[in-house]
Symmetry: C2
């Protein structure tokens, strides 16, 4: 995936900062090793990039965008570790390597996920001023709680037992994927003290981007092989889950990807020239091959 | 367990407040049902009682001690749900009823635990003033993260593979049980704007109480049956875990319980008459039968 120079520099800053938040921990070695294994396994770093990009776009001056960005990546990694567990998706491969519970064991993977979530909240609590901490914390907790990501994961586990409609799938993915991606944009805005109107635009971009991202995921799961994708593929078919592809077909899914990409780009139009990088990023994510 | 009138009134306020934080959630029914099932299954409500008692002892005037107290109980419940999972202690019975993963399923139990943790942080984020939120959040996140409760759970899962000494077991339980109990005292102090010196006393009481509590737990696990305790017993022997009882014997464990109870009571001496209820509570917990 080819990033613009600005976004590549965000990615590099994030990669450089992430390990420090684990290295400082005085904690059982195997637990920290499992947290590090999953956190540093690569990945696109989409959520932290969005935090930094949103903060930059609203001309933010916070010195603390990087730790908050890293917290969002730790939360994303927690969700992947738990999602891969045998009782959930039962996926053995993640980013070209054994999943956390395969490389370590189930108990350690469970605790490593919990640990990453908790350390993320700790990182956020260390931000200043306090008024920003509270806004970020509240936004994130709602986005990933029962009304957000956890709710989406619950709907996902129930998916194979029902016959979901396209609207059901959209709800599921708005919660499971969309809320954290939208929250990444919004907390970037909080850090940059964006106006209420601009915060709405950031959220709207993030929601469209999140749904589009999931559509591309479904498409790649159906059409790729593990060597290309670095994770177990055809999981949805194996777990008898309905996806956008099984409901809409390949072409229908591609059309919907275009629709949501256009909506994301349109949400940022009021930012003019400052939105060029984020709009380009949306198009890159829409056409990604892995 | 016989509580003083003041502590019984704390317990009643907590029982009354807890369900409201789940009832308000717009979230998948089965997920909220699992969260409610475990949260409302009774229990001693030790951690939230400690928040309210510490806040009262330092003559706090916060209106928000109850939500923070409830957040501590939600975090405790999350740790129990995950601890009972097959990959952890594999316990089928909790508080006289099937464990969460037995009553629902493993995936739902995993997500319900995560949901309770996240909703707890959301509750804390809603407290005011913001300066208190940040102190509470930071204290709690450190107490239950890799350097605290998660670290303790990790050591616990590794316990059966090693031959721990008494010092190892103390470290394990200080992390796994003690840190959250101590944090409950400390956040009560934060809410009441306690002095640094008083905060140290609250923490010291909580640490001794936490260790004592675990010693009693080990004793009851070895000497009781499930009908008395309402949870699977002899788990430690079944899981080949060393405990204080297997290391020190029944009498040695009882002596250590007395030592830590006395240390807890001594930590609160400077509070004089205001500490009577908490000191009595420590003695009640030391002699509990379930």
């Amino acid at each position: 995936m080819k990033l613009s120079a600005a976004f590549e520099s965000y990615r590099i800053r994030i990669e450089a900062a992430l390990p420090g938040y684990l290295d400082r921990l005085q904690a059982p070695e195997r637990l920290v090793a499992a947290m590090r294994y999953s956190l540093m396994a690569g990945g696109k770093r989409i959520r932290p990039i969005l935090v930094l990009a949103a903060h930059e776009m609203v001309q933010g001056r916070s010195q603390q965008a990087v730790p908050v960005a890293c917290a969002m990546e730790m939360i994303h990694t927690y969700s992947l570790i738990h999602d891969d567990l045998p009782s959930m998706d039962n996926a053995d491969l993640r980013r070209g390597n054994p999943s956390c519970h395969v490389r370590f064991d189930e108990a350690t993977a469970l605790l490593a996920g919990n640990g990453l979530l908790t350390e993320a909240f700790r990182l956020i609590a260390d931000v200043r001023p306090e008024t920003v901490v509270v806004r970020v914390m509240s936004e994130v907790a709602v986005a990933i709680g029962a009304e957000g990501m956890m709710g989406g994961q619950q709907l996902d586990t129930e998916n194979s037992k029902r016959q979901p409609t396209q609207a059901d799938l959209e709800t599921l993915h708005r919660l499971k994927t969309g809320r954290l991606i939208a929250a990444s944009m919004v907390v970037g805005g909080f850090l940059g003290e964006a106006t209420v109107r601009d915060l709405d635009r950031l959220r709207s971009f993030g929601e469209s981007l999140g749904l589009m991202f999931q559509l591309v995921d479904d498409l790649l799961d159906a059409t790729s092989d593990p060597s290309q994708l670095g994770k177990t593929t055809h999981l949805d078919a194996r777990n008898k889950k309905e996806t956008f592809v099984s409901l809409l077909g390949i072409d229908g899914t591609k059309r919907l990807i275009d629709t949501h990409t256009a909506a994301a780009v349109a949400a940022l139009e009021p930012f003019g020239q400052a939105a060029v990088s984020l709009s380009e990023y949306a198009r890159v994510l829409a056409t990604r091959q892995s």
